[in-house]
């Protein structure tokens, strides 16, 4: 193989003056984590809200919720990010558009919100499925106890539904982490982008990619482990996930 291996590259200084090449990748990891964290919160808040809305008796609300899910689910994430980053500021009034464009860390905010909204459609699907999977008697019992619809959701349906959908939510969380890499196309210097920068500065393609692969593997394994702990901690004894 016509390639000069150099595993020592990680200890060499990077041209950005921010330490070694390993530091460069770890800085990328930080941005990946920050973006994924914000995106996950957005996905969870919007996903839960839309998911609940789609199980309500109001036809109008259900339709609105469906529209949300279909919109964010049927356009590729990359195209959605382009819409937010390139198209949206041009459609706004000039002053607002300029404000958006000159926002510090615009790629981070756009990336996190874009990935968050994209993932919210998937979370909404899970939440809806979780609520639907509960026996009808539970909602009826809530009503019989004199709870309002909001209280029934808050105290009866959602606590159970979230426990049931925790495993699929875990994989959506992992997807959120992975999807942040798409934001490199709008200039976010997350892990994959830094990996490429390392390749471009040092020409050590395969060392850089190997390191990124290992970091993603460790990240994935740790998140999976934490989520399993969470599943066990909140499990209801004798119920589906309780063992």
């Amino acid at each position: 193989m016509n390639y000069n291996w150099n595993w020592g590259i990680f200890r060499e200084p990077n041209p950005e003056g921010s330490g070694t090449y390993l530091d460069l990748l770890l800085m990328g990891l930080n941005w990946t984590l920050a973006t994924a964290a914000l995106a996950a919160v957005i996905a969870l808040v919007f996903g839960a809200t839309i998911g609940v809305i789609r199980t309500l008796p109001s036809r109008g609300l259900v339709l609105a919720g469906d529209a949300w899910v279909e919109f964010f689910r049927n356009i590729p994430l990359l195209v959605q990010l382009f819409l937010w980053y390139f198209v949206l500021p041009e459609l706004l009034p000039k002053a607002a558009g300029m404000w958006l464009k000159t926002l510090p860390n615009a790629s981070f905010w756009t990336g996190a919100i874009g990935v968050g909204l994209f993932m919210s459609s998937r979370v909404a699907e899970q939440v809806k499925a979780g609520i639907r999977s509960l026996p009808r008697g539970q909602a009826m019992a809530g009503t019989a106890l004199g709870l309002t619809t909001a209280q029934t959701y808050r105290y009866v349906l959602l606590p159970m539904a979230f426990r049931i959908i925790l495993p699929p939510l875990t994989s959506e969380l992992l997807n959120t982490v992975k999807n942040t890499s798409v934001a490199l196309t709008i200039g976010l210097m997350e892990l994959t982008a830094r990996t490429r920068a390392m390749q471009e500065y040092s020409f050590q393609v395969f060392e850089a990619f190997t390191a990124a692969t290992l970091i993603y593997l460790v990240l994935n394994a740790s998140l999976t482990f934490l989520m399993r702990r969470l599943e066990r901690a909140v499990a209801v004894p004798g119920y589906v996930t309780g063992k």
């Binding site: 193989m1 590729p76 195209v79 390139f86 198209v87 798409v182 990619f209 990124a212 993603y216």
Partner: protein, 229 residues
């Protein structure tokens, strides 16, 4: 700034479709097929009693599912020629074109996801059917290819198709290596003619319509298969 020029879409439509959409759809179809075949094999390996096979398949699936597609696209674009060299034992890296490289990447990547679907599908076939097959004197291969896999495929068809729609959207990521798929073609026109808004909105609309209509079809199919069962 706000002067829409939707003529640009009409003018460039032949280019967008011929250069871009054909690439996107061909890549989607071939990668879905390849990914499904490879994914089924991986699922069978995972469920097999030979420990080495199961371990390999599990490792492969977990590895692929841990990595962002963007990273995998770069990996393979640079690595596949060397893999080819190692497998074919040629004296130089094997030249792999852009399309072939993308096809290999998506096939290998999607296989991990299809294998999870097929594993669930195979496990959904009652054990009794296997025993019945063996009782009839069928070999493992025959039981799998005539009894189990066809049913798994049918049970899982809606999920497989939904995953294919995801794959269709994911192919847009070849943008990162400057291959001209539908989005790549649209973004080239957008940059060349300074028609960003029109082209990106149009691209979004096209992806939306295709994915949305396809998912409606999947839902109808799901309803029909549900009745048969």
């Amino acid at each position: 700034m706000l002067q829409f020029d939707f003529d640009i879409i009409l003018k460039t439509l032949p280019y967008l479709l011929r250069e871009g959409m054909v690439f996107t759809l061909t890549l989607t179809a071939l990668a879905a097929f390849g990914g499904l075949v490879l994914g089924t094999l991986l699922a069978l390996m995972r469920l097999s009693t030979i420990p080495g096979l199961a371990l390999f398949a599990t490792g492969y699936v977990n590895l692929m599912r841990s990595l962002p597609l963007v990273l995998v696209i770069f990996w393979f674009y640079f690595l596949v020629p060397y893999i080819g060299q190692a497998i074919l034992r040629t004296e130089r890296p094997v030249e792999v074109g852009a399309f072939a490289s993308a096809l290999i990447t998506f096939t290998l990547f999607e296989a991990a996801y299809f294998s999870e679907i097929m594993r669930a599908g195979i496990q959904s076939v009652p054990k009794g059917q296997l025993s019945a097959g063996y009782a009839l004197g069928l070999t493992y291969r025959q039981v799998m290819s005539y009894v189990v896999v066809p049913q798994a495929l049918r049970n899982m068809l809606p999920v497989i198709l939904t995953q294919t729609i995801v794959l269709f959207q994911d192919t847009s990521l070849v943008y990162v290596i400057s291959i001209t798929d539908f989005l790549g073609a649209a973004s080239k026109v957008a940059q060349r003619d300074g028609r960003l808004i029109e082209m990106y909105l149009f691209a979004a609309l096209v992806y939306f319509l295709i994915s949305f209509l396809a998912s409606l079809l999947v839902k109808r199919l799901q309803a029909r298969t549900a009745i048969i069962r």
